[in-house]
């Protein structure tokens, strides 16, 4: 955008919203919204504390394990569904049901099955992420150019070769799209897990700050979480754009 001939950098509208927040906060209209500057001050204050770092580590760990599991299981399952009619018929109804189901309602069941520890949180995270990853990998394989498969076959590709050298790469733009949306859902999963299953990580911080009306602290943690998930989503979107050229050039 340009104002008075000046080219504004991307997302400069955030400055405007930040100023508005600051003003409303300074007017002390509600305890719920402290000034933005005070939130940043609190963030600097708690950012280095062991409690905060522990929470960050716990959340990051559960998130990393959960999403890795979702990718490692979800991508091959999706590719297999796209390749094999039989597997597709068997699994597709379940994938669609879980994709649209309110998974939060399942969390108590997971607690019964896997206890109150990190396992249940990781599984919740994976469960939030995996379905869209499966569906997107499947969609990517289904639009593959059939003559590319014939080509690999005619030059003597084994089933494994075809899987790793053709299907995976042909579906990569869709797979990355699925992973991006899956990661966004996984952020939900990990926080819901940490709030409902066992109060650890960022979930525990939210719990403590909110119940003690420590709004500055609450907002500070929320800002960190929002920025992290935004950065992850943007990074994956960037990766996706890097392979877009061949998604568009596919015959």
């Amino acid at each position: 955008m340009k104002i008075f001939g000046y080219q504004l950098p991307n997302m400069s509208s955030l400055i405007l919203w930040g100023l508005l927040w600051e003003t409303v906060g300074q007017l002390e209209l509600t305890f719920f919204l402290p000034p933005l500057s005070a939130i940043f001050a609190t963030l600097l204050e708690i950012g280095g504390t062991p409690a905060f770092l522990k929470a960050l580590r716990e959340t990051a760990e559960a998130f990393a394990i959960g999403t890795t599991a979702a990718i490692v299981i979800g991508v091959p399952v999706g590719i297999l569904m796209g390749k094999s009619r039989l597997i597709d018929e068997l699994l597709l109804p379940w994938v669609n049901i879980f994709l649209s189901a309110p998974l939060t309602a399942l969390v108590p069941v997971l607690m019964v099955l896997f206890g109150f520890g990190i396992t249940a949180i990781v599984i919740t995270t994976a469960l939030f992420a995996i379905w869209i990853i499966v569906l997107n990998a499947r969609a990517g394989v289904m639009q593959i150019n059939p003559s590319l498969v014939e080509m690999a076959h005619s030059f003597g590709a084994s089933r494994f070769d075809a899987f790793t050298k053709i299907y995976f790469w042909a579906a990569l733009p869709e797979i990355l799209g699925g992973v991006r949306i899956g990661f966004i859902r996984a952020v939900k999963g990990v926080i819901i897990g940490q709030l409902l299953i066992s109060v650890v990580g960022f979930g525990s911080l939210f719990e403590i700050y909110a119940s003690n009306f420590l709004m500055k602290h609450f907002w500070a943690v929320l800002l960190v979480l929002f920025s992290l998930s935004f950065l992850i989503a943007e990074f994956l979107a960037w990766l996706e754009r890097k392979v877009e050229y061949y998604a568009a050039s596919r015959q």
Binding site: L148, S154, F155, G156, L172, Y246
Partner: protein
Amino acid sequence: MNTTITENAVAVRNVYKNYGDVEALRDLSLDFPKGQLTSLLGPSGCGKTTLLKIIAGLLPANSGEVLVNGQPVSGPGPDRAFVFQDFALMPWASTIRNVAFGLELRGVAKSEREAVAEKYIAAVGLKGFENSYPHELSGGMRQRVGLARALSVNAEVLLMDEPFSAVDEQTRRKFQEDLLGLVQNENKTFLFVTHSIEEAVYVSDQVAILLPRPSRVSEIIRPQGFRNKDVDSIRRDPEYLDLVDKIWASLRSYVE
């Protein structure tokens, strides 16, 4: 073995192929002499691509057999290489990786297969484009990549499925001239599917005319007089013009 004058690289014996209730090929037999280019020519729906894919081992026949150098075909093999109508290049791979892909699947070491690929990339006139990606190449250049890939596995039989139909007319003519050189210099057998009468007569040692419903070989034509003339004068040769007219006369009633 009986010593015939020309040995057959590929022989198709009594092949039947049905798609459900539709009879695509009925009792089709055809010989493809070694070292020559045979065209499969016919109207659309006459099963020429089906026949080529059966020879490639990409499609199973319902009955009958295909022999390559006397050996029955049961699937794709290193003795045959396919050139696709839509090029079938991997959009995520550079020219050199695409060309070397056949060798990569055979487990040839990277430096070795890239040396072979470089040689054929130069041979098809794409030197300098080794690291380009398919979306950066024109249609004609993409098909040259497809051709280099088929050449680099050094198969005895090259199966070409309407390879020039997706490129523009000038490129097509250049391709046809280059193909004549290729048939002369490479000691390979070419099977060439086309729907263009002029193209078939121009490039072929033998033209097999296929007619539809059900598909059968109606006629085999062997151009005699102009095969050894230079590429520029073929299109003005009386025999060339007569053959094109003759084939059109026998095909015109099948065109809807």
